[in-house]
């Protein structure tokens, strides 16, 4: 077991593509770290550099305090689980799992014992004599995991290990992975596309965009205190709502009405190069049916009225979609996020507002409804740089912060 440190690690391919730029990351011993980001942002490349399958163009990679930039994968003592599983089709499950041990020249008895042990943990004992072709997807996945754990490596690397499974199996395997990692306490770097995996599995999440790290932190922190527009839009499902906001006389003109500003944000906006337009971000759960809000809460937010498009009742609460007029929020980040999620999933900068209201709300489709939202929970972003202006010492402080 060991810690993994990436020190200004970059990768540029021979054709000039810069896939990873100056990534700084310290992964503690035994930590479970998730790399997420849209397709092509350099997650796999980063993982492959840690594995040694891809050369590091510049920067330093240390595993267990030792510089390993120039070491071959076999000398790094880390195991990898591939998205495609990459099982050896000509070998049985037992042989597949024994392969790393045989290469390490262990004696037969030890090999058998270790394979049996790993098979038991992963419930593969009955399948040991089968060939991979005769296994189900979930079983293949477990064999791939088994091959990684048998030799007790310093670290596990996993590149979208669950993305080939169907939804139900994925949930099952997610708990298997999580339990296994806790049991073994092995440092793990896990690449995924899937929000839920990122939020539920890891101790810390690394969000990447275009080869650069955007923010690193525990999942909840990224959710509550996104450092920039990209992180805010990437984390959360349904995603945060983004609205265009024009700065005017110390307040903000938005489609939801004029949003008052606290001193701190106002001071920032008074600077000479301050943006004249902002993007306002609100998560769906920070809205509430105005009728259900008590006076004390009401004071902390503001209200607006809008026509109801669709009501989706989830039992515990209601997702209500509103149409709002006004200019669309636009920024490069938002377009990228929309492209990655597929337009349907990302309400983002459109004229649509997604809200999560209490189940008691009497809201109905086709009506107009008064809705309250929490000003302490809104985020303001600079569309040019994507920076979150409402952060104070890394914590989101809302619009009214003094």
């Amino acid at each position: 077991m060991a810690d993994i440190v990436l020190d200004k690690v970059s990768k540029s391919f021979p054709d000039g593509t810069v896939a990873v730029q100056d990534v700084d990351l310290e992964i503690a011993d035994g930590e479970f770290v998730i790399l997420v980001g849209p397709s092509g942002c350099g997650k796999s490349t980063t993982l492959n550099m840690i594995a040694g399958l891809e050369d590091i163009s510049s920067g330093e990679l240390r595993i267990g305090g030792q510089r390993v930039n120039d070491k071959a994968p076999r000398d790094r003592d880390i195991a990898m689980v591939f998205q495609s599983y990459a099982l050896y089709p000509n070998m049985t499950v037992r042989e597949n799992m024994a392969f790393p041990l045989r290469l390490a020249k262990l004696d037969k008895e030890t090999i058998n014992q270790k394979v049996d042990e790993a098979a038991k943990v992963l419930e593969l004992t009955a399948l040991l004599d089968r060939k991979p072709a005769n296994l189900s997807g979930g079983q293949r996945q477990r064999v791939a995991m088994g091959r990684a754990i048998v030799r007790q490596p310093k670290a596990f690397l996993m590149d979208e290990p669950l993305s080939n499974l169907d939804a139900k199996l994925r949930v099952q395997m997610r708990t298997v992975v999580s339990r296994l990692q806790k049991q073994l306490g092995t440092t793990t770097v896990y690449v995924t596309h899937d929000q839920t995996e990122a939020m539920t599995l890891g101790d810390r999440v690394v969000i990447m965009r275009g080869g650069a790290v955007q923010q690193v932190g525990p999942p909840q922190e990224l959710y509550d205190h996104p450092r920039n527009l990209f992180v805010a839009g990437f984390i959360g499902s349904p995603s945060m709502n983004f609205l265009h906001a024009a700065v005017q006389d110390g307040s903000l003109h938005t489609a939801l009405g004029d949003v008052p500003l606290g001193d701190r944000v106002r001071r920032e906006l008074e600077a000479a190069d301050a943006p004249r337009e902002l993007i306002l971000g609100i998560r769906p759960e920070h809205f509430e049916d105005a009728e259900l809000v008590d006076d004390d809460t009401r004071r902390r937010g503001m209200e607006f009225e809008a026509p109801v498009d669709i009501v989706e009742s989830m039992g515990s609460d209601k997702y209500v979609y509103f149409t709002v007029e006004g200019e669309k929020a636009s920024a490069a980040e938002l377009e990228e996020l929309a492209a990655d999620a597929g337009a349907a999933d990302f309400a983002g900068g459109g004229g649509n507002l997604v809200t999560r209201l209490s189940a008691e709300s009497a809201v109905a489709e086709g009506q107009s409804r008064r809705v309250w939202f929490n000003l302490e929970k809104i985020h303001l972003f600079d569309p040019a740089t994507g920076r979150n202006l409402t952060l104070r010492d890394g914590r989101a402080a809302g619009a009214l912060d003094d």
Partner: protein, 280 residues
Amino acid sequence: MATGTETTTRAKLRWGLLDVLVVVFALVPVLWIASLSFKTPATLTDGKFIPREWTLDNYKTIFDTDQFVRALVNSIGIALIATLIAVVLGAMAAYAISRLDFPGKKLLVGVSLLIAMFPQVSLVSPLFEIERQLGLFDTWPGLILPYITFALPLAIYTLSAFFKQIPWDLEKAAKMDGATQGQAFRRVIAPLAAPGLFTTAILVFIFCWNDFLFAITLTSTERARTVPVALSFFTGESQFEDPTGAICAAAVVITVPIILFVLFFQRRIVSGLTSGAVKG
């Protein structure tokens, strides 16, 4: 459903008939030669498909002549050695071509294609001169070398197609599991490429075995003369005897190793050997 099965049975019947037709068309000449080889000189020209009098005399004749046995040994030896070398070299080249991006890759592929397309007839005379100068004329290496040259493009093409089918990830996985590049190739890639290796071996062997042009130009005695050439030199016991029966027997004999070779290797060409390696 009913119409569905009906059409499939009818389609099957149609295809079956077509298959039989093709097989008969292809096999009749071969069977005819086989039939001739069992006929006595007297009935040779009677035009009957099934010999009236069966005889093994023709086979006895050819195996009695030292000429033919020698040629058979030459053929087998030369073809096997050439096949082995071509497949090993071809496998290495094909592996590099399918896996690595190196400068001059396109050139290498282009040149090997060029060799494959080059008319062999135009090379025969220069080769004859060169081999005489080098002392390779009428020796085994004198035939093995050109065979390798012309078999290599074929080997590289078939093999790189096979290597490309093997998922990259398997090799990466092997490396992560602690294998060196060599171990990864030997223990993971080569076993999976086995069907490709055998297919290529069959093709190259057949090419060497059947060659007449090089064999007749680059040999002069029994030292290196292969069967196809030896056949053309067949004469009867006396000048006036017709060697047709013996030639047919020899033709049957030289077809047998090819059939054996193909049957032997075909059992190893298990399709779908890589299935289960990766999802989808």
